[in-house]
C-alpha cells in the first residue's frame, strides 16, 4: 500500500482545562487567612473557609489548602447551600451568582469575627471587607479597612498594598 497508514488523526484529543478564574479566587481566599489578624476568641481548633454554593471553587480550595495551616490550625473548606448552614466561619465567600443579601451573612458571622468576601458591584458598600472585581481583564480585589474594623479584623499593610480602591 502506498498511501496513508499514519495512525488515527482524530485521537487523542487534548482535554480542556478548567476555568482558571476559580483557581485565582481560591488562591486569594486562602492567602487572606495570612493577611488578617484573627481575634483570639475566633480560634477554635480549625480555620474554616466557607463558600456559598460553589462546589467547583471549594474543590480548588481543598486542593490548595491540603497540608497547609493557619498558624497551628487546620484549614477546613465548607460549601454551604444556604446561609442558615453558615457556622463559625473565619472567611465566607459569596460568589457573584449568589443573590443572597450581604447584610444577612454579616449578621451571622459577626459573633465569630468572620471575614466576608463578595464578588459584586458595591460589595464593599454593602459591608464586605473584601470584594473581587475584574479590572483590565484581571481578577483583583477591593479592600475596606473600615468594614474590617467593624468586624474587629486587623488588616496587614502588605495586603493593603496589593488591593485596589482601599478605603
Amino acid at each position: 500500500m502506498l498511501f496513508g497508514a499514519f495512525v488515527p488523526v482524530e485521537k487523542p484529543m487534548l482535554g480542556i482545562r478548567p476555568d482558571p478564574q476559580q483557581r485565582v479566587k481560591a488562591v486569594f481566599l486562602y492567602n487572606f487567612s495570612k493577611y488578617f489578624e484573627w481575634p483570639k476568641a475566633n480560634k477554635n481548633n480549625m480555620f474554616i473557609i466557607g463558600v456559598l454554593d460553589n462546589p467547583r471553587l471549594c474543590a480548588e480550595l481543598t486542593t490548595i489548602t491540603q497540608n497547609r495551616k493557619v498558624g497551628v490550625l487546620n484549614i477546613v473548606i465548607k460549601n454551604f447551600k444556604t446561609i442558615q448552614e453558615i457556622n463559625k466561619c473565619n472567611i465566607v465567600f459569596i460568589p457573584e451568582e449568589s443573590n443572597i443579601n450581604v447584610s444577612n451573612v454579616l449578621a451571622i458571622v459577626k459573633p465569630f469575627n468572620g471575614l466576608v468576601v463578595t464578588e459584586r458591584q458595591n460589595g464593599v458598600s454593602q459591608g464586605a471587607v473584601v470584594n473581587f472585581v475584574i479590572k483590565e481583564n484581571k481578577l483583583k480585589f477591593e479592600l475596606s479597612k473600615s468594614n474590617a474594623k467593624k468586624a474587629s479584623l486587623k488588616v496587614s499593610q502588605s495586603l493593603t498594598s496589593l488591593a485596589i480602591n482601599v478605603d
Binding site: 500500500m1 499514519f6 495512525v7 484529543m13 481583564n137 481578577l139
Partner: protein, 293 residues
C-alpha cells in the same frame, strides 16, 4: 522464489552471457557473490564499481547497488535500515536516469514501489518521542519517492496533513502526561500549524491548537505559587495565551459546533476577557449541548 530474486536471476544470467565473451567484470562478480549469499562483500564490490568511471555510467551498477542495499535493509531493524534504504532509493533513481530508453522500467518501478511503501511504513513506525526526527526525515523521502508514482498534488497534501496530524497527536499524548514538556508543546504547535498552512479549515488542527494555547494559559495560572498573592503578571501572561487561542477555537466551533470542549474553552476565554455577553452565549450553547430538550 520471490519476484525480485527471479528478476535478479534473469538479469544476472543475461549479464553473464554478455560478459562471458568479454571476461567477467566487477559488476558480474558482485552479482555472483550476492547470489552466493555474501551480501556484505557484494555491496563492497558494487560500491567500488559505483565509484569507478569504467562502470558508473551504466544502469546495471546503480540498479544492483539499489537492489543489494534494499536487500540488506530487509535484514535490519527500522532504526538501522533507514540509511541503507535511502542509499537503495537514490541508487534506483540514478539507475532510472541512466535508462534513457526505458528498457528496464519494470524492474526499476518494482523496486521503487517497494521502497516507497517501506518509507511510508518506516515513517509511521518511527512516530514516537525518541525517533520523531528520523520519522520526519524518512517521510520527506516518501514524498520524494511519490513523485515518481504519479501521485497528484491533492493526495500529497492529504498525506502531509495525515502525517503531521499523527505527529502532533503523538506529542499530545506526551504533553498530557507532562505539561512541563516544552519540546512536546513546541511540536504540537509546529505540526498543527503546518497542517493549517495546507488546510486552514482543518477542524482537528484548529481545535488542537486552540486548546493547546488555552491550556498553556490555564497552566500558567495553576503553576503560580499558591502562597504568593501577587497574581498580576501571571494573569497577564495567561491572557496573552487566551487571546492567541481564541481564533483557533472560534474556527473550530464554526466547523463543528457540537464539541463541548470548544464551547467550554470559549466560555472560559470570554470570561477571562470580561466579555459577559459572549461568555453567556457560549455557556448557554454548552448547556444546550449537555442537556438537549
Amino acid at each position: 522464489m520471490n519476484i525480485y530474486k527471479y528478476i535478479l536471476l534473469i538479469i544476472g544470467s543475461l549479464l553473464s552471457i554478455i560478459t562471458l565473451a568479454q571476461g567477467q567484470n566487477d559488476v558480474e562478480r558482485a552479482v555472483q557473490i550476492f547470489q552466493g549469499g555474501n551480501i556484505e562483500n557484494a555491496i563492497s564490490i558494487i560500491d567500488s564499481c559505483a565509484n569507478n568511471t569504467k562502470y558508473n555510467k551504466t544502469w546495471e551498477v546503480w540498479y544492483y547497488k539499489g537492489f543489494f542495499y534494499k536487500e540488506l535493509a530487509k535484514k535490519q531493524t527500522v532504526e538501522t535500515a533507514i540509511d541503507n534504504r535511502i542509499i537503495a532509493y537514490e541508487s534506483i533513481i540514478k539507475a532510472i536516469s541512466l535508462d534513457i530508453k526505458r528498457e528496464n522500467i519494470e524492474q526499476d518501478s518494482l523496486n521503487l514501489r517497494y521502497l516507497t511503501n517501506k518509507f511510508n511504513n518506516d515513517a509511521a513506525a518511527l512516530i514516537n518521542e525518541s525517533n520523531y526526527k528520523k520519522s520526519e526525515y524518512i517521510f520527506n523521502y516518501y514524498l520524494k519517492a511519490l513523485k515518481y508514482q504519479n501521485v497528484d498534488d491533492q493526495k500529497t497534501k492529504q498525506l502531509n496533513i495525515d502525517f503531521k496530524s499523527a505527529m502532533g497527536s503523538m506529542f499530545i499524548e506526551v504533553y498530557e502526561k507532562n505539561s512541563k514538556n516544552v519540546q512536546a508543546y513546541d511540536q504540537i504547535i509546529k505540526n498543527y500549524s503546518a497542517v493549517l498552512q495546507i488546510d486552514s479549515n482543518n477542524a482537528n488542527a484548529n481545535y488542537q491548537l486552540g486548546v493547546t494555547y488555552y491550556n498553556k494559559g490555564v497552566n500558567i495560572i495553576y503553576l503560580h505559587d499558591v502562597d504568593d498573592l501577587n497574581y498580576e503578571q501571571d494573569q497577564d501572561l495567561a491572557l496573552k495565551e487566551f487571546k492567541i487561542a481564541l481564533p483557533f477555537l472560534l474556527k473550530s466551533n464554526e466547523i463543528n459546533n457540537k464539541r463541548t470542549e470548544t464551547l467550554e474553552g470559549l466560555s472560559n476565554i470570554y470570561k477571562a476577557l470580561n466579555n459577559k455577553e459572549r461568555e453567556n452565549y457560549y455557556t448557554e450553547e454548552l448547556q444546550k449541548l449537555k442537556n438537549p430538550k
